[in-house]
Symmetry: D2
Subunit: 341 residues, 4 copies
Amino acid sequence: MLSFESDYTIGAHENILNRMQEMNLIQQKGYGGDVICESAKEKIRKACECPQAQIHFLTGGTQANATVIASVLERYEGVVAAHTGHVSTHEAGAIEYTGHKVLEIPGHDGKIKSSELKAYLETYWQDGNHEHMVFPGMVYISHPTEYGTLYSREELEEISGICREYDIPLYLDGARLGYGLMSRDTDVTLPVIARCCDMFYIGGTKVGALFGEAVVFTRGNMPKHFLTMVKQQGGLLAKGWLLGIQFDVLFTDGLYFQISKNAIEMAERLKEGLEERGYRFCLKSPTNQQFIILENKEMENLREKVAFSFWEKYDESHTVVRFATSWATGSEDIDSLLELL
Amino acid sequence: MLSFESDYTIGAHENILNRMQEMNLIQQKGYGGDVICESAKEKIRKACECPQAQIHFLTGGTQANATVIASVLERYEGVVAAHTGHVSTHEAGAIEYTGHKVLEIPGHDGKIKSSELKAYLETYWQDGNHEHMVFPGMVYISHPTEYGTLYSREELEEISGICREYDIPLYLDGARLGYGLMSRDTDVTLPVIARCCDMFYIGGTKVGALFGEAVVFTRGNMPKHFLTMVKQQGGLLAKGWLLGIQFDVLFTDGLYFQISKNAIEMAERLKEGLEERGYRFCLKSPTNQQFIILENKEMENLREKVAFSFWEKYDESHTVVRFATSWATGSEDIDSLLELL
Amino acid sequence: MLSFESDYTIGAHENILNRMQEMNLIQQKGYGGDVICESAKEKIRKACECPQAQIHFLTGGTQANATVIASVLERYEGVVAAHTGHVSTHEAGAIEYTGHKVLEIPGHDGKIKSSELKAYLETYWQDGNHEHMVFPGMVYISHPTEYGTLYSREELEEISGICREYDIPLYLDGARLGYGLMSRDTDVTLPVIARCCDMFYIGGTKVGALFGEAVVFTRGNMPKHFLTMVKQQGGLLAKGWLLGIQFDVLFTDGLYFQISKNAIEMAERLKEGLEERGYRFCLKSPTNQQFIILENKEMENLREKVAFSFWEKYDESHTVVRFATSWATGSEDIDSLLELL
Amino acid sequence: MLSFESDYTIGAHENILNRMQEMNLIQQKGYGGDVICESAKEKIRKACECPQAQIHFLTGGTQANATVIASVLERYEGVVAAHTGHVSTHEAGAIEYTGHKVLEIPGHDGKIKSSELKAYLETYWQDGNHEHMVFPGMVYISHPTEYGTLYSREELEEISGICREYDIPLYLDGARLGYGLMSRDTDVTLPVIARCCDMFYIGGTKVGALFGEAVVFTRGNMPKHFLTMVKQQGGLLAKGWLLGIQFDVLFTDGLYFQISKNAIEMAERLKEGLEERGYRFCLKSPTNQQFIILENKEMENLREKVAFSFWEKYDESHTVVRFATSWATGSEDIDSLLELL
């Protein structure tokens, strides 16, 4: 059966598995203190044009978000995020479980507006009573967002500027970062992100790895004893070099970018085909996730031959569904899908 | 100086202090296991027409909210509240500190709408992904709300009905409950609240006591080992009988209702005077808090002679301010204030 | 019935109640920002000979411990305490509830030994694996201890010296501090404590107040936004001036010391009487708590006429019980008790 | 260089990597809802002779401990463990981070004694004040322990009996379970463990897998919404089938037991060689970890050619070191090591 359900339903790029085979029986230091992790970090630093970057590899996105947020924030601080942000809605309260509030501001197709962020911070600090409120201690954005949308470089710089004005770190969730960077409609590069953000993560799980996210602190601002806090939250992998291998391979010869580009090309091919066939888009996404409005009956029929995701009810007789391409999608997959439509 | 700043700026009704004097040197059991607490509980059960009510006294509102919510919710559950609810905004993240998310839905002058609550719960349970989300495990309302507004009996019954349909307990924050019950525009009584809610608290701090809130569980649903959890959250008063005395006095011969009524009468007198003088109300409040729009200059002048609260910016040249009457406000206070306006 | 059950079974010194009556209807600022609190703090600073002390009043001992510990520690740190310390055993896990471990070391009649503390810290830092362990971030002692025992000035200075050597703050739980300071067998004064400790609290609940503990930070080290964290833990009293009044009265004309001295005198009188009658002491306590070994039958008989505390089983036929005197114990109470023995 | 540093310094059994290669590009359901996980679970149920077992795969030991403990315990409960237990000392406070106390009782070469456990529980419940204490809500043991020691079947049954008498679940940490089961000196089998324990985990990370631990609930007692709590603690792996593959391979044709046996044989060979050479053992371990007392100079010399672990200081001139064999240790490794000694 065809599957466009998500970008994490299959394994890893073959180079990764091959490298794992090669390294399998070589003794390594535990907990990420090995030479492969060091090599991977160095490659990421170069790709980010950020020689001072401090990097730690974690196994998944929720773990990365919860660990970064809970280790950076003071106890009396919360994280500002779009009300549609992954940390706001789809992490089973992982942030609150660490004792911190997600301070929700409006999301617009997944993005926050710099003007609304500024207004939020201004109002907060003007409130005479703000010592009885949660302090905004970090700003969270995702890029691409949960809706596949992207910030422009200008938007990112504006948000970054406001964060610096208010002395609040900016954190970017890059679960699907590769697909954002290789979009045809973006002027945002990895170095731009490293300059604008105080920390971010480069997603591996959805972009060619078996699992793994590379958390990057860009300004010497990795919290003291970060490793201990990772352990405390249950995220310290004994064989940390497994994460090192994956990012080392992905950042060798631009593999991360190259395979991300494939997902974008497949998404564009899908978009064209859908447009030709007159399908209605719920949202213009420049990345690998496409949101289409289907008539319910048609959706049910299609479901028998293709896996895709329910997104939300559109109206009584229509539903928004999501088709996701990935680093591994082949053009024959797109063609087969289009034939069914 | 005249003060209409809040309803917790002075001490307690004289009967309470007198009773404290009388009981001061009598040996009592610790931690609320004394006979005075028992007497107070029995009087509250009667006033609520709820013989099975289980009651525990705590010292303040944030403590009551955090203790009740954190002891009733399962770990994977959050509390649904208006985005303007006290637990959502003005408790310094006390709920999140216990690991639980406040699931914010729209507030309308401080109130939630039963239709929006129902839609929220429906959408949540229809979401195929809801196991990755925080479960709605309790509904929080305040009565009077943070804006001085009140639910009607019908509204309360509707909300209660939805909660029971979805098997979610309803919790009412009654920090200013007396002022709500004695409003001229209400059909909600204490027994109505006890029937509609699974738990609520009767506020003492703002209604005649030095401090103290009576938490009431209405259906034999006080969580097992509640006292231990109160201790764990630092809220167990060694001399618990001090709380017992205050509620015993307040619920003797209807004192709680009688002094609450005074606050309402003073608020109505103030409202009339303000209307006569042509002041603009930001909000029609039927309780002891009145929200007026003042021109900024006028506000600054007034501030020299009267204490009141900044509420929020209205526009560039106007501000919303709050005047609060209380159980102890005298008619001469109102007259003096009106003379200044 | 005679009661020697505890030192928190009756109310407050009459001066406190009188002062409450006087101030009852005077408008005060909320949350401890009032002039009475300021006056009380100034008196405490003088009594401590610590002009830079930062002081915050809380309502009870567990609340004080949990709030201080959780606001001072970093996330990856725990508090070192005797295995018999109040925070280790009798606070229902209030410290762990805030996410911090109590790192237990041996207690000797309630006291920690400086040599064992030093060894613990040394071993910890020598362990190559210590990043996988909880960092010792604070040392907790109680004075008097849970067993009524006292540190000598020399012992206190030694512990303090080790803490400073390892750059770890020293926190002293003074729930019964007055009784320690007025013991006949002590060379520890309030200024000594202020010099040796980074923070401590002066207990009011057990020493003449209705409730209240004065938390003292001695070196400009009150954590930033402490008030917000107090609120977050549910410990911010709306009418904070009630705490101010109590400490203001207790630290006027040495009342705190004078009433503490009474408890000591009564305890000494009791000790003498018990010794004369040949009772066995489980522990030589120089403060207001006395631990006696009673034959079980005798204990049961005595219980009909006197309230006292079960402490622990001694052997099959004997039990350790505790008699506590207090600021309010009269010599006639002691005489009546001795007559019964 | 020879390495006996730990049992988690290399990769996985080749069958696992081969299976990963085979399955790599096959679409799977996310979050462990796939058919490979189901197959692995079924094989584990059979090996445990526990058809009703509920199983969830997690990525590491600390994560497994923190997730199981925090999802099973009530808020007011703690977990009883040896003071040397992994959860007590080497998990960076991961248990306390979830709000729960580790209630430490004595460890004897890593093991708890059933008599001491019984005494602890008895004393707790006899204490009139136990509502002010953390309730013992679970018993944690490790098998093999952190010292390589093993419980006998009788000991396990006694501990289990006490737990059932006090209605407290028994949890066994099996990070190195295979090495325990294949010891020459054990009468404990997987079915015995499944019968005695309410939950336990079968360690993969240290026994042939890249990573992964299989948490087994033996009595239909997996907490409601366990998956949501796993997500909340950041432990839900998107590609859960990676865990499924590893356990499916390990429990095919007894591979888990067969490779565990190798570690034991190598350890016995090492033991013999050490004994012949007159080395002093700190501890008689029947499993894959051997603890030897080395003279410091000798230790330093050896370190240049062999990797091993510092365990603890023995005296001024001697140190306890640990040599660990694993599923992958070859007899030539042992011979090379012995030649160096």
